[in-house]
């Protein structure tokens, strides 16, 4: 079983490892405590103190607040609210629904037809970073990416149940 130290994993996260090393890590089994190590690395990289329970998406984490509530939080500190609600409802959204807006990011005729597909960009109100992009038919409901079963994951997979 390979074990990687925190520094190697930090470099992995920052994209600083040479490809041969990354490939070796991709191809072998994960170290048993990789999740917890990655969690620790995430925790040390954010400027706030709420406990991270789960990395949720790029820049987003599920954190435990002092009152034990679980909220989705951006690494800038902006909180989107309860993890059971779709965080996108609290985000800024920019919808590319015209040819002009689509052509801002695609060469002409290489993008989608706005009658058939919109591009929705969800942006953090706290720091303005692009968090997620959806490509959906016009009028399609906002996609709820996923709702993790955090308690079961900690209890059955990590074997360390969270105190309620």
């Amino acid at each position: 079983m390979r074990e990687y130290d925190l520094e190697t994993l930090r470099q992995l996260k920052r994209g600083e490892l040479p490809f041969e090393k990354v490939h070796e890590m991709q191809s072998s089994h994960k170290d048993r405590d990789r999740f917890l190590k990655m969690l620790a690395i995430a925790q040390e990289s954010v400027p706030w103190n709420d406990r991270i329970l789960l990395p949720y998406a790029e820049h987003l984490y599920v954190v435990e607040k002092p009152d034990k509530s679980r909220v989705v939080k951006c690494d800038c500190g902006y909180e989107f609210g309860d993890v059971k609600q779709n965080w996108k409802l609290s985000a800024l959204v920019y919808v590319r629904d015209t040819k002009e807006k689509i052509n801002e990011i695609y060469p002409d005729k290489m993008g989608c037809d706005p009658d058939w597909m919109h591009i929705r960009e969800y942006i953090c109100p706290g720091c303005g970073v692009l968090l997620e992009t959806e490509a959906v038919p016009p009028g399609y409901p906002i996609v709820f990416d996923f709702q993790p079963d955090i308690d079961t994951f900690y209890e059955k997979w990590l074997n360390q149940p969270l105190s309620k």
């Binding site: 079983m1 490809f19 490939h23 991709q26 191809s27 089994h29 048993r32």
Partner: protein, 712 residues
């Protein structure tokens, strides 16, 4: 060993690795010693001389005494490969047909996962594009087009060539490669580019080198050809200076022969040869060439060559006295067009790591390995994961105090604890049971590879002899051949040095290939165009070979030329190499000979029922090989002694085999005499390898110091 004063070394083989440079000296009687020294990539001649001196010490000879007596020296090394892998080659520019400037960025998809394990091939996330040997800004397209029949469809835009060459010289490139479409049929445009470039280089007083694809590798498949030309210019050609230095040192020491390099087609070539990229890989080739030589000397034709080293298991077939050549090998994640002996390599060696899959607790062997670091049992290795070697030590097959002649002391207890903790305890097994289970899994894996190679080609093990070599081969040979009924199983007593020995057995041989694409449906056709295409290609290739030999002062009448063709059925994809018995196609009878030989070879290699002559035959490649006399090691021949070995040398130790502890007889290999037969369980130790003869087997040592293993 014979009287040391009479020893005259005849053949020198140099193996320059990344860390160590080995020299193998062979004397007139076929005995050899190995010298070692730290490699010195800056000036390889220093490491070479140190290594040679170290080797000669064993025979109490000085450089001045030994070097003039040598008849040939053969080099093989990893410098070129390292240069390529580390991307530390020449700064090159590239001129291609306009529209193809992105060749290197797009590659072929296969180059993003070449050399990967099966599971990695399936996991796209691991696929990665190679860093191009030439960055995009130094690649220029020039317009002009020759079609696949060789006719000019668009003339060459010479102004674009001029502009490209000027820009490349402005960028201070050391060399310019030229690779235009279909240049192997009609090189006119490439020649024109060359002339223009030469003119500009002269005008500007630059010393830029030129590498023209049609001159170096006139073969079809432009991408693989481009890769080959680039590898030649980028990594191979820069080694010439090193070769010159070694040659000069040798001359200074009184050598009266020229250094030669082991090439991928199984022959050795001069360091002045045009196509130096062929010498990029030579490691596993030596063994196959050695096995071929052994087969010829001992009078048999079909051999399975098996080589187990620390990291891999290499397998090759010799059928009818010939190994097969593949013409599109891949090396270091590049698809190339070079003739390379067909060798299958499996990532399973004696240094392979053994692990349990965390989820299913299945035992996994490799694909990565400890290589020269041996395993946990080697206290200075810094390793913590169990290897095959560790299991061999625990089971008593390897002697921890006599590994590499005692140079490395192995710690049995470390190995025992590691196996216990990592494998045996999690599986609830006894440590010895677990270790033996691992070994039998390993050997089953190798046996499956061997049998699938032989049966897969439609042959039967009963018609083959198997040769086992490499440091790890003789330890496992009984295991991986169990139940396969080979005609004979041979273990040369010099198994560990067999690859180097093989290099010394190689012919001084040039091989030149050219794509021709000549088709013939039947003999009623006019055979003239078919014959003329091939004959002219042969003439051209013969001139090339003569030219190459001339660099070493070898005259054409000293060279034996062979005329070969690669032929396939029209519409099929697999071409087969055949030898044409003459030197020119003159009559319909000659064409019939080609067809007959092809059909015969095809039926042997595939199956008779897969033949499909309806659409005719296609000759894809014309080949010329030229061989000239070179000295080779003699097989050692000693008088036969008694049938039983001298028991005064016999020791015993306990080994674990099939669930029981057995008392094994232990011999030092030097103490066994030709004629001796030993019965299992016996272990024969030498400084570089250990030969295990399990219970139920016997091994006979013949007059050539080759063991023959067979069931009792």
């Amino acid at each position: 060993m014979t009287n040391k004063n009479t020893i005259q070394p005849r053949i020198l083989a140099i193996d320059a690795g990344g860390t160590m440079t080995d020299t193998i000296l062979v004397n007139e009687e076929g005995q050899f010693v190995v010298g070692k020294a730290q490699s010195n990539p800056e000036d390889e001649s220093i490491a070479f001389i140190n290594s040679l001196r170290d080797g000669l010490n064993y025979w109490n000879l000085t450089l001045e005494d030994a070097v003039p007596a040598l008849a040939s020296s053969i080099y093989s090394g990893t410098a070129m490969l390292n240069r390529l892998l580390e991307r530390k080659g020449r700064k090159l520019g590239l001129i291609v047909t306009a529209g193809f400037e992105d060749y290197l960025r797009m590659e072929r998809g296969i180059q993003t996962y070449l050399g990967y394990s099966y599971s990695d091939r399936l996991h796209l996330v691991t696929h990665r594009h190679n860093e191009p040997l030439v960055p995009r800004e130094r690649i220029f397209g020039v317009r002009g087009r020759i079609d696949l029949f060789g006719s000019e469809q668009i003339p060459l835009y010479e102004n674009e060539v001029r502009e490209a060459v000027h820009k490349l010289i402005d960028m201070n490139v050391e060399g310019i490669c030229v690779n235009l479409l279909h240049s192997y049929v009609n090189p006119e445009h490439e020649k024109r580019v060359k002339n223009i470039a030469q003119e500009i280089i002269r005008q500007r007083g630059a010393d830029t080198l030129l590498f023209i694809s049609s001159e170096l590798y006139p073969v079809s498949q432009d991408f693989a050809r481009l890769n080959t030309v680039l590898v030649e210019a980028y990594a191979a050609d820069p080694s010439r200076d090193q070769f010159k230095r070694i040659n000069r040192k040798m001359r200074e020491l009184g050598a009266n022969h020229e250094l030669r390099v082991m090439a991928s087609h199984g022959g050795t070539i001069s360091t002045e040869a045009k196509e130096l990229a062929r010498t990029l890989v030579s490691g596993p080739i030596g063994g196959v060439v050695g096995a071929q030589y052994l087969a010829k000397e001992l009078g048999f034709e079909n051999v399975v060559c098996t080589d187990i080293g620390g990291t891999s298991f290499d397998l090759a077939l010799i059928t009818g006295g010939q190994f097969t050549i593949k013409t599109q090998p891949d090396i270091a994640r590049f698809m190339l067009k070079l003739p390379l002996i067909e060798i299958d390599s499996v990532g399973a060696g004696t240094g392979s790591f053994v692990r349990l899959t965390p989820s299913s607790k299945r035992i996994e062997i490799g694909p990565d390995s400890a290589g020269y670091r041996i395993g946990v049992s080697n206290p200075v290795s810094g390793l913590s994961t169990v290897t095959i070697n560790d299991c061999n030590v625990v089971l008593g097959y390897l002697n921890p105090d006599n590994f590499l002649g005692g140079d490395v002391k192995l710690d049995k207890e470390r190995a025992y604890n590691a196996i216990k903790e990592q494998i045996a305890d999690p599986l609830g097994l006894d440590v010895y049971e677990a270790a033996e289970g691992i070994i039998s899994l390993f050997e089953d894996h190798l046996r499956n590879e061997v049998i699938s190679r032989v049966l897969g080609k439609g042959y039967a093990p009963e018609n083959y002899r198997l040769i086992s070599y490499g440091g790890g081969g003789p330890v496992h040979v009984a295991g991986y051949t169990a139940g396969l009924n080979f005609e004979d199983i041979l273990v040369p007593s010099w198994a560990a040095g067999f690859s180097a020995y093989g290099c010394a057995c190689a012919d001084y041989e040039y091989r030149s290939d050219k794509t021709v694409q000549a088709q013939i449906a039947n003999l009623e056709d006019n055979i003239t165009p078919f014959a003329e295409t091939i004959n002219s290609a042969w003439r051209e290739l013969k001139d090339r070979v003569i030219e190459e030999f001339a660099k070493s002062g070898v005259k054409p009448d000293q060279v034996e030329f062979r005329h070969l063709l690669r032929v396939q059925y029209v519409g099929q994809l697999n071409d087969v190499e055949i030898l044409f018995p003459g030197d020119e196609i003159k009559t319909a009878g000659d064409v019939q000979i080609i067809i007959d030989r092809f059909e015969e070879a095809y039926a042997k290699m595939y199956s008779r029922s897969a033949r499909s002559p309806e659409l005719g035959y296609l000759v894809t490649t014309a080949i010329i090989t030229g061989v000239t006399e070179s000295e080779k090691p003699k097989l050692p021949t000693e008088p036969l002694g008694p049938a039983t070995p001298d028991t005064k040398y016999q020791e015993t130790r306990l080994v674990y085999y099939k669930g029981n502890w057995e008392q094994a007889n232990v011999y030092q290999m030097d103490h066994l005499r030709p004629g001796n037969t030993v019965y299992g369980f016996t272990i024969i130790e030498s400084p570089n390898t250990t030969f295990v003869v399990p219970k139920g087997y016997k091994a006979y040592l013949d007059a050539h110091r080759i063991f023959h293993l067979s069931p009792e």
